[in-house]
């Protein structure tokens, strides 16, 4: 069940109605039943066994950790933690990466001249496995570290793991952030429900009006890079970055808006990332819950580990103080970025191309920082003005667009081949002779796409100043209704949906 489809809207309306009809203390149970229904409508029923396994093991292990810590049995608590992490991450690894591992084993065997050919498994992963596994692993670690208490009710743990809005594409939640909200039950608040629905509308607009159109352009160009080379490649790269943003952040708007209607505020995943002035900042504003998860549960423990401390001491003794500050942190970030690539998919395109690319951007910015600062001083560049900020944001945008070519094309060598096709563009005429209208969208559709991107830009500028919905709320009645009706009719008239379109699925739903 796609979250931009009519059946979904019906499902949402019915479950929301039931949620508010039930007494407060039963409302969390309504969410659990809704989540089971959502799972049933959206995925193969048998795959729920993996999610149920995760719930059972997590409940047992967090109870085990708590009991062991209460009796001062630190080693036992550690064993419960390792068991919980091993089972949950093991399920994820088996479902998502066994194909990758077997493919590489077969490739290596082929190189070695061996006739070994392991069969590729045909495993169907449950909905949202990559997202809820991260939430569960963080929860296990938080209980172990004493950051949050263990949930003893298995059904409440099941709701934390399987709360339906986060099953499509996240966000990755922290137990501490959502536990009270999920279980306490919320009173009906018309303003909150209306705000939630407004946000859902904006998400549907982003997805069906903007992202779907950009997807047509991207697919047309990448389907034939022999014909569409030079500047076309860069049109596709930029279009894909906007497509991915409007698709993923649109999905988040629908999910967070729906959750807001229940009175549950899930963590934000985007904060106008294209206004970032460095790649590092971009990753603090794009898929924020994944970045924060990797920082807290991978980067921090790695950098504080004995091995990294030894590395720091060794670097200080042999390479000096400056290197001792940079080398360990850059290597720590390498671990994070390779994992970031792996999380997104079991292909070398993701791991080396995408992960390594962003790591290279961030690490080189750190290493070359003194050189850049010196150049800025020598050239007397004013760094506190709009034009410099614009240049910085455009630089980040281009680097992100290149990195996301590895994301879209997936194959490492294929992406390098496509980048080569656009390396020395000699066809600037495509921007003036109407060639852009031959990329699957006719002139009116193309103009609709450009206008809606301008609307997106305007909303993003307003978002930098605070909640857009609150800003609209302060306006007069007529203006408010004009805005919301324009959005509704914008979706109905310009949305690409229904038979003949395949825009309903979300890019991040595959993870």
């Amino acid at each position: 069940m796609s979250i931009t489809s009519f059946p979904f809207l019906l499902f949402f309306a019915v479950t929301l109605g039931v949620y508010y009809i039930l007494p407060l203390r039963f409302r969390w149970s309504a969410l659990l039943v809704s989540s089971l229904l959502f799972f049933h409508f959206s995925a193969a029923d048998y795959t729920i066994i993996y999610a149920a396994g995760a719930v059972l093991v997590t409940t047992l292990c967090t109870r085990g950790i708590t009991k062991a810590e209460e009796t001062g049995a630190g080693k036992k608590a550690r064993l419960w933690l390792i068991l919980g992490l091993a089972v949950n991450l093991g399920i994820l690894a088996t479902l998502k990466y066994s194909g990758f591992v077997i493919g590489n084993v077969n490739f290596a065997a082929g190189l070695a001249g061996s006739g070994l050919r392991l069969p590729q498994p045909d495993l169907l992963a449950p909905l949202g496995v990559s997202f809820y596994t991260m939430s569960v692993a963080g929860y296990l670690l938080d209980v172990y570290w004493g950051i949050c208490p263990a949930q003893t009710d298995i059904f409440k743990t099941a709701l934390f793991v399987g709360y339906w809005p986060q099953l499509t594409s996240g966000p990755i939640t922290r137990y501490n952030e959502v536990r009270d909200q999920l279980y306490e039950g919320h009173r009906f608040d018309p303003r909150q429900v209306s705000f939630g629905m407004q946000r859902m509308l904006w998400g549907i607009f982003k997805k069906l009006v903007i992202s779907a159109r950009l997807g047509v352009v991207v697919d047309t160009i990448y389907a034939d890079t022999v014909t569409y080379n030079g500047f076309y490649i860069w049109v596709a790269a930029v279009s894909f970055l906007f497509q991915l943003y409007t698709d993923f952040s649109g999905c988040m708007d629908i999910i967070l808006g729906a959750s807001e209607c229940y009175g549950i505020r899930l963590p934000e995943n985007f904060r106008t990332p294209f206004f970032s002035r460095s790649v590092q900042e971009y990753w603090q504003r794009w898929h924020m819950t994944l970045g924060a998860w990797l920082k807290d549960y991978i980067l921090y423990p790695v950098l504080r580990s004995g091995a990294w401390r030894s590395l720091t001491r060794w670097t200080r003794a042999h390479l000096g103080k400056k290197a001792a500050k940079q080398v360990p942190s850059i290597l720590g970030m390498l671990c994070v970025w390779l994992l970031m690539g792996l999380w997104h998919g079991g292909t070398w395109g993701y791991i080396i191309g995408w992960g390594l690319w962003f790591w290279l951007c961030i690490a080189s910015a750190q290493v070359l920082d003194p050189v850049f600062k010196k150049a800025i001083r020598l050239l007397r560049i004013n760094t506190e003005c709009f034009s410099w900020h614009l240049f910085q944001s455009l630089r980040v945008f281009v680097l992100a667009a290149i990195g996301n070519m590895f994301f879209r094309l997936r194959g490492f060598m294929e992406t390098l081949h496509v980048i080569r096709a656009g390396l020395f563009p000699d066809n600037p005429e495509i921007f003036f002779d109407g060639s852009l209208f031959s990329l699957g969208l006719d002139a009116p559709d193309f103009i609709a796409m450009v206008v809606s991107l301008l609307v997106l830009l305007a909303v993003s500028v307003l978002q930098e100043r605070g909640s857009v919905r609150e800003q609209i709320e302060k306006q007069n009645l007529v203006f408010r209704w004009v805005v919301w009706y324009a959005l509704i009719f914008g979706i109905l008239i310009f949305g690409m949906y229904g038979p003949g379109y395949d825009a309903a699925d979300f890019i991040y739903r595959g993870f």
Binding site: G146, I147, Y300, L303, R304, R309, T312, P328, S329, M333
Partner: protein
């Protein structure tokens, strides 16, 4: 070690980590007050503080740190390794 001595030692660690001999810290100093204090430097700072005072913070304490005063509280309450 009294609070004054803790702050004296912390100041020297801060100056070393941020490579800035002019840094002055107070109870309410936060990451917003020091230009290069990002999430990465934060962890390097904590490691330097742990090494400097011969202590080990647990993750709960690390995530709950609000300002330098809280860090000093934590140091004062930690048994030496």
């Amino acid at each position: 070690m009294n609070r004054e001595e803790i702050f004296e030692k912390l100041t020297s660690i801060f100056r070393d980590v941020f490579d800035d001999d002019t840094i002055e810290i107070a109870e309410d100093t936060t990451a917003a007050d020091i230009e290069d204090w990002d999430s990465l430097t934060h962890i390097m700072l904590l490691s330097a503080v742990e090494d400097g005072f011969g202590i080990r913070f647990d993750m709960k304490a690390v995530q709950g740190l609000k300002d330098v005063g809280a860090m000093a509280d934590l140091i004062a309450g930690q048994p030496a390794r």
